[in-house]
Symmetry: C2
Subunit: 444 residues, 2 copies
């Protein structure tokens, strides 16, 4: 089979551009409209995307003045979307720092069953003091600590998902025996962060467990990904950086004894599409014109861990920013933003403009051909197994991608032309169903 692109639709209320909500087409209540999301899901299915994805954090992300804040909880929303779609994968973000394994494992198993094997989990450790303070902590746990907890969380979750063998249910009505207790394997886990005794109260799901996705790019993040992740979302500004990241991650994955084909790397791209290049650039400019810069300054100060009022709009970033190692929040995003500003000698105002579209993800404005070219280049030159598509405005930006870029990708043989029979999310990504850790493989 030819190698195909994997496409994930990263959905965000009225779009990824921070000013998208101000455009005439945008609904200020989109973030709480099931209909809005059903519409987006159907567009993505028309484009034969592998999956949908929703970001998340257990805190209010921004001031209300700034932009749409608050959203439907992703697992809940994706469950509703499961019933409105047939083929597309459903990837929910959930935090290992602010959940307990038993509850979260159940929810993903339930979604996987309800969706016929289409659930995915974007595993995040959640940066920021705001989230910590919603869960009884004074301070954000240290970055290394968060990843240590994440590792143990995954070990426990995998034990829970494997606590039922696939054929534990017998259903012998005559004998009065519903299931086989010998096929239940309670985790009996006692660790540093968690103690979990009993088996899950949900049978093993169609995929065994949700597709495991990861989205942090720090050293700890990449270590974690190499051990557990089957797909990785990442923000990369240049093809050189993306190739280095790709090669690094595949090598790390091989180094821990896994098949590097079993981890798919998906950089984000914000495609601003126009019939002509100048139309695309005008669209980008229109969005930039709607940015309220004072919010952008506050966001940058928070990311860079600077006191309020440190940054000036028409000057460059201060020269004496701390190294990544001193950052306890989102490490890799910090470095990406600082490097981008330095490389292109951007003022704060320009930097805000560049980040406005994709918060550090690559923004690419052009014709459908140009967008398809960029995607093909990255895909064929060792920078990506697919893309996280982040339309600047929704729904129109997703419509544009599906109507104009997808046909080109199909013509070039880079993308499936139809879904074919129903299958699991993991199969869409070309990955095998995981064996149960309690079951010996049978050799012929």
């Amino acid at each position: 089979m030819p190698r195909h692109l994997h496409l994930n639709a990263f959905l965000m209320t009225t779009g990824h551009h921070e000013a998208s909500w101000r455009l005439p087409e945008s609904d200020p209540f989109a973030h709480v409209s099931l209909d809005h999301y059903v519409r987006l899901a159907k567009i993505a299915e028309r484009g034969t995307f592998d999956s949908l994805f929703l970001a998340d954090g257990p805190q209010l992300w921004s001031s209300l003045a700034q932009r749409p804040a608050g959203a439907l909880e992703p697992l809940t929303l994706l469950t509703a979307l499961a019933t409105a779609t047939e083929h597309i994968g459903l990837i929910a973000t959930a935090s290992t720092s602010y959940n307990s394994p038993y509850n979260l494992a159940r929810k993903f198993a339930s979604l996987d069953i309800i969706s016929g094997g289409r659930a995915g989990w974007n595993i995040v450790t959640t940066a920021g003091r705001e989230a910590a303070r919603n869960f009884g902590l004074e301070h954000e746990p240290a970055h290394a600590e968060r990843y240590a907890r994440a590792g143990e969380f995954l070990d426990v979750a995998l034990k829970l998902w494997d606590s039922w063998e696939d054929d534990a249910i017998v259903g012998d009505k005559a004998a009065g025996v519903w299931g086989d207790d010998a096929k239940i394997h309670p985790p009996r886990h006692k660790g540093t962060y968690f103690s979990v005794e009993g088996a899950l109260n949900v049978p093993r799901s169609p995929q065994g467990y949700p597709l495991l996705v990861q989205a942090g790019s720090s050293e700890d993040g990449k270590e974690f990904a190499s051990r557990y992740a089957e797909a990785v979302f990442t923000a990369q500004q240049t093809i050189e950086d993306a190739r280095a990241f790709y090669a690094d991650l595949k090598a790390r994955t091989a180094a821990v004894g896994r098949d590097p084909e079993h981890i798919k790397v998906l950089p984000g791209i914000v495609p601003v599409i126009g019939a002509t290049e100048s139309e695309a650039l005008a669209k980008e400019q229109e969005l930039e014109d709607h940015i309220v810069h004072r919010h952008g300054v506050a966001n940058l100060e928070r990311l860079l861990q600077l006191p309020e009022g440190s940054l000036e709009l028409d000057r460059q970033l201060p020269a004496d920013l701390p190294p990544e190692s001193a950052i306890e929040g989102a490490k890799s995003r910090y470095t990406l933003v600082v490097e981008l500003a330095r490389r292109d000698r951007l003022t704060v105002r320009q930097l805000i403009g560049r980040l406005g579209g994709g918060r550090g993800h690559l923004t690419f404005a052009g014709t459908p051909e140009q967008v398809a070219d960029a995607i093909e280049t990255w895909f064929t030159q060792g920078a990506a197994d697919g893309f996280n598509i982040m339309p600047p405005v929704l729904p129109s930006g997703l419509d544009a991608f599906v109507d104009h870029v997808v046909p080109i990708l199909r013509t070039r043989g880079l993308l499936r032309t139809e879904y074919g029979p129903r299958t699991t999310l993991r199969e869409r990504y070309g990955l095998p169903r995981p064996a149960n850790q309690h079951v010996q493989p049978v050799y012929a």
Copy 2:
């Protein structure tokens, strides 16, 4: 408006009778079949029920040998059912002992939005060591401690649900102002069990918050219900007990300054329906014949906190059982079972038969007329505001109720004949939408 019955459909896999799964009609995989639950929800909507309800506990409830174990997580399943139904309320059980307020408040707010105001929360404190051990605890927290935590949990959850005023979203595109930060009220809660700083990341939902339902009947349980509950599920074996419970709960509710009309009492009933009385009794007998008694013995020993092997099938319960005050698990259920056994001088075998149908809820076998009579009597004589309908076998038992008992109740003017326009769950139960604690009522 005439006083109408409130009907709640308590759904449980193949039915409430523990042997229901062994009948020819039953699907051993019903517990993980969305189609099964969609079918049940549609039958209940045909019967113009107020709501559906799913029980829950974060542990495997029984051995697999015994009966269908494990289930879809209720909030997930009800979200899927929200998209398959239009009018019926969706009540999910969730534990205050093994959840954090921020996560749970978000999920209920999200379901309430997605369902157009049809979410309800059956608030439980979760008895049993098994659950505790899935969340890092060695022992079950003491009964009083669980209810103390539940009270604080509710206070925090209510603060979170009120952390957005209803009109916090402005959507002023021209000015670039999406929302009004002055209408956000972070809880800043620091208590015994929880510290929660920030506002919820979901706007206030159609109902303000889910309908609050409670299902424990101990002293602490009733105290809790009188403060928070808008509907109460309860297991009552006789009309005398039910009337006493009803009067007690209404009085307690009035005593804390609430309108006693704003707490609806719904005893459970397991209706075994036949065209003739003898047909109904034969159906009951058929179910009893399918009971595997050794499982029943084990369950009773666990409820009564007796060592394994203490009970003998053809003898009565031991005389020296401890008082309710010594029980840390499900207190009111304990007392109900012991009193039932003593009152009717039941052997363990007979007791298991009596509990097989409804685990302590009233089982009533008869013709549709007889079932309707029993319901009418309890409803008009101060024992109930409605009923928790617990069909012994599903779907057939719910079909029988809706096809044969519901028309009689409608003819007698006790039940709505149609839903009318879409409305919230709270309105179905005749309750007012709660005001936001941060908003002063406006007097004309």
